[in-house]
C-alpha cells in the first residue's frame, strides 16, 4: 500500500523559523508542503519518512530567508498491482462501484465485468447483487469490500486512480466470507 519516494528540493526558510534547529525547521517545512498532497505520477503523500541530507544554509543578497537544498523521503500511498486491500463502498450505479480507502483515498472503482461472476445490477433497488446458487448477496453502499488491485492509472494531471476486481474466491463483501 505504501512506498518510499526520494525527493530533492531547494527550500527557503523564513526568519520566524530561525529560532529552531535546522533539522526541525526542515522537517516542519517538508511536512507542511507534502503531507496529504498528491505527487503527480507517484501517489498520495502521507508523511515525511526521513531527511537524508541538506546543504549548508545560504543567505542570498537582499533576502531575509536562508536557502537550503534538502534530500528527503516521503511515505506515499500507492498500492501495488495484485495487492489485496479493504475499502468501503461509497457509490453504486450501472457503471460499477466507487470505493473509499479509510476516507483518505476515494478514487477506487470496481467495474461490472470485474465483479463476482453472476453479479447483476438491480435497477429497482439500485444495488449490485451477486446471484450465487440460490442466494442473492448484496453489495450495500456503506459496507466493506475486499478487492485485488487490477490496475493503477494516472490521469492527465498525474492523479492516481485505482481499478480493482473481486472476481475470485475470498473477495467481495467482507460479510460474505466471515
Amino acid at each position: 500500500m505504501f512506498i518510499l519516494t526520494r525527493i530533492e528540493e531547494r527550500m527557503s526558510i523564513a526568519p520566524e523559523h530561525f529560532n529552531k534547529s535546522l533539522q526541525d525547521a526542515i522537517q516542519e517545512h517538508v511536512h507542511g508542503q507534502y503531507s496529504a498532497k498528491f505527487l503527480p505520477q507517484v501517489g498520495q503523500c502521507v508523511s515525511v519518512y526521513d531527511i537524508i541530507s541538506s546543504t549548508a544554509p545560504k543567505i542570498l543578497p537582499d533576502k531575509c530567508e536562508y536557502h537550503i537544498e534538502v534530500v528527503f523521503r516521503l511515505v506515499v500511498f500507492r498500492p501495488l498491482f495484485n495487492e489485496i486491500l479493504t475499502a468501503r463502498i461509497i457509490a453504486a450505479d450501472p457503471r460499477g462501484l466507487r470505493l473509499s480507502i479509510g476516507g483518505f483515498f476515494t478514487k477506487v472503482k470496481l467495474l461490472p465485468h470485474l465483479l463476482q461472476e453472476g453479479t447483476t445490477w438491480d435497477a429497482l433497488e439500485k444495488i449490485w447483487v451477486w446471484n450465487y446458487e440460490d442466494h442473492r448477496l448484496y453489495m450495500d453502499v456503506g459496507d466493506l469490500v475486499r478487492f485485488r488491485v487490477q490496475a493503477v492509472h494516472y490521469d492527465s494531471v498525474g492523479r492516481m486512480k485505482i481499478h480493482g476486481r473481486v472476481n475470485e474466491s475470498g473477495l467481495g463483501m467482507l460479510k460474505w466470507w466471515m
Binding site: R6, A36, V46, S47, R78, L80, I84, T86, R88, S169
Partner: protein
C-alpha cells in the same frame, strides 16, 4: 522539486503505523503537528489490522525469518501481503499465494497460519467503524 527515485522501496502497514504513531507522540512536544490526514491513515491501519498496536519489529522479524526458513519460495511481495493482511484462514492464503495448489500442501498452509497466529495475532476484533 525533483523526484530522485519515485519508488525507493515498499513499507509495510506496520512500519507506516509506527511512523505515524511516533509523529502523534512527538507532536505534543514540538510545533510539528500530526495532520488530520495522517490521523485518518493511522486510524484506518489500526482498524483493518487490530494487531498493529501490539506488534513489534522483533515479532515481525522473527515471523519473516521463520517464513523464509520454512518456505523459501515465498516472494517479497507475498511476505509483504502476509504482514499486511495477517491471514487467519486458508481462503486468505489463496488470495496471497500465487499458484497455491501446486506450490504448497495443506500441511504447509496450516503451518503458515500457525506462524501468523503465534507471531502476529491479537485477540482484538476489527473496528469497522474506522475503515
Amino acid at each position: 522539486m525533483e523526484i530522485l527515485v519515485s519508488k525507493q522501496g515498499q513499507l509495510s502497514n506496520f512500519e507506516v503505523y509506527s511512523l505515524l504513531s511516533d509523529v502523534k507522540l512527538s507532536s505534543s512536544s514540538s510545533s510539528l503537528t500530526s495532520s488530520s490526514f495522517e490521523s485518518n491513515v493511522c486510524s484506518f491501519l489500526e482498524s483493518v489490522s487490530p494487531s498493529l498496536p501490539f506488534l513489534s519489529s522483533s515479532s515481525l522479524k522473527s515471523f519473516l525469518n521463520d517464513m523464509r526458513t520454512n518456505f523459501p519460495s515465498l516472494s517479497t511481495f507475498e511476505l509483504l501481503q502476509f504482514v499486511n493482511l495477517l491471514p487467519s484462514s486458508v481462503v486468505e492464503l489463496y488470495l496471497i499465494l500465487s499458484d497455491c495448489d501446486s506450490r504448497f500442501s495443506e500441511d504447509d498452509l496450516s503451518h503458515m497460519l500457525s506462524l501468523v497466529h503465534s507471531h502476529l495475532s491479537s485477540s482484538s476484533s476489527v473496528d469497522f467503524s474506522k475503515v
